[in-house]
Amino acid sequence: MATDHELHLRDRLTRLRSLNLLGGVRLSGELEKLQRQLDRIQTAPTDEEIWRSVELARHQDRPYTLDYVERLLDDWVELHGDRGRADDAALVVGLGKFNGRTIALLGNQKGRDIKERTHRNFGMAYPEGYRKAMRLMELADRHRFPLVSLVDIPGAYPGVAAEQHGQGGAIARAQALMSRLDVPTVACVIGEGGSGGAIATALADKVLMQENAIYTVISPEGCAAILWRDAAEAKKAAAAFKPDAVHCLELGVIDGIVPEPEGGAHTDPDQSAKLLGESLEEALEELESVPADDLKRRRRAKFRSLGVYA
């Protein structure tokens, strides 16, 4: 299986090498990075390992957005409010210095204890949260701050108010805004990248995943409940739709994998932050050399190329 998976990756590498890269769709350095990823991955994820990722991605001690902010940014100023109705604590936004440059950062924020979890709605934003995120995106664009988005949301929130306040439209418009930004954008799934709630803030020039993060169109439980008519078959569902980072890389959905400490990000938050910081820096440096028009064109072309059909 390991060999099999490695073959897949090598195969993709070969195809990338031979590809006529239309209109600069792929950023330079892609091949080298894929090679490095390949060298690093020793074994491909088995069904058991996929499930372990699901568990680690949801681990209650896993570092959240503000844990990384604290370790990676100087002069952090959190901003609040959608300038319309509310300040949604499930999604934090702000400005800070990252390796000397000002960046705009947004991220889902889960809670550590039951009170904070309720306050932050388990990281699941309301439409007001997406609108706050859009405000930060506009601020970033206006002042040419690169945008970093940390994604960690079980899924869009299924609530009465969320629907009444226009959740579908808010998620659509957040993506549309990201597709229009003239600044470099990097998204990283740091835990659960759940469905529309995740993609709302992940239409980025570079999309990364931490090694044990998952990225899904529906949670394993939700998928199992529908297709197997039994939410307990979640493990089976996960094995079937493969939400792990390696498979996402293989499908071209993400651009790179951010390593975690042995045993998962929660075992060593400082080291996790260091590794995340290195990947973000690498991505930003590469993007900062690209002209704004090209950035936007490449970003859209990348997402418009996703899908497999005949």
Binding site: P154, G159, G168, A172, Q175, A176, I218, A225, F241, R304
Partner: protein, 281 residues
């Protein structure tokens, strides 16, 4: 962790199964019709106005000037990138859907004219796997945007979708940013998207291109919600408002521009096409 489970079932807002009721029996007033009666009435109950589901080809025929529709990208078919197997293989489900509907996928695209004005069309069909958005729906919509941009005409989308194409996993989710980027490219080319939401327009389709219409209209009684009432009720245990998630509620909350009954849709869209036709350039 029960909340986690509930929370996640957000991509399957299929309307309640009609039970053993015949598809030509009106679920609102129980009137029963022959096929040709319903067809003549655009599948709107002559008695109570209930809007029955409408198939993609019938929808196209009801909107365009006769004989002007030229289909595009009809040959596209889904692959099975994950070799997905639940109780049955994805490939089998696809084959069955094609047999049942006579369509290669849940969306039909092409160009046409409506009351003499040219446009591009992208029309979904709920009968094909619940109108779920997989790679081919995303690609067809994306091509429809490009075709509209090249021809310099507006794009009219008619949506009907119950959720994600789970069998394509994360690639199904990626059709959201894909179609969003396609709309943005269409807008940059100066063309409009007119979004017509029919029952049901939910989940990923609502959270992407359908909500980006320059003008958004819905049919009466259509469910227009990211998460449908059943899942919301399971999660929140709240009593839901009477018209929760319906077009009427969406109008009241400011999410759509109008509710247009099916018989008025063609002249309404036609008027919009005249308005969005380039001002003399």
């Amino acid at each position: 962790m029960s909340s986690r489970i509930d929370v996640s079932i957000e991509h399957r807002n299929v309307p309640e199964p009609p039970g053993k009721q015949h598809p030509n029996t009106c679920p609102e007033c129980q009137s029963h019709y022959r096929d040709d009666e319903l067809e003549a009435a655009l599948w709107v109950c002559p008695h109570c106005g209930h809007h029955f589901p409408m198939r993609a080809r019938a929808r196209v025929a009801s909107l365009v000037d006769q004989g002007t529709f030229v289909e595009e990208a009809a040959e596209l078919r889904s692959e099975d990138p994950l070799q997905f197997f639940d109780l049955r293989p994805y490939t089998e489900r696809l084959a069955e859907a094609e047999m049942k509907t006579g369509l290669g996928e849940a969306m039909v695209i092409g160009h046409a004219s409506i009351e003499g004005t040219s446009c591009e069309l992208a029309v979904m069909d709920f009968s094909f796997m619940g109108g779920s958005m997989g790679s081919v729906v995303g690609e067809k919509f994306s091509r429809a945007c490009d075709s509209a941009a090249e021809r310099g005409v507006p794009l009219v989308s008619v949506t009907a979708s119950g959720g994600a194409r789970m069998q394509e996993g994360i690639l199904s989710l990626m059709q959201l940013p894909k179609t969003v980027c396609a709309v943005e490219d269409l807008h940059d080319a100066g063309q409009a998207l007119i979004s017509v939401m029919t029952h049901p327009t939910t989940a990923g389709v609502l959270a992407s291109f359908a909500s980006l219409g320059d003008v958004i209209v819905a049919e009466p009684g259509a469910l227009v919600a990211f998460t449908g009432p059943r899942v919301v009720q399971q999660t929140t245990r709240e009593k839901l408002p009477e018209d929760f998630g319906l077009a009427e509620q969406n109008l009241r909350f400011g999410h759509i521009d109008a509710i247009v009954p099916r018989p008025e849709l063609k002249p309404y869209v036609s008027r919009l096409l005249r308005l969005f036709a380039r001002n003399g350039d």
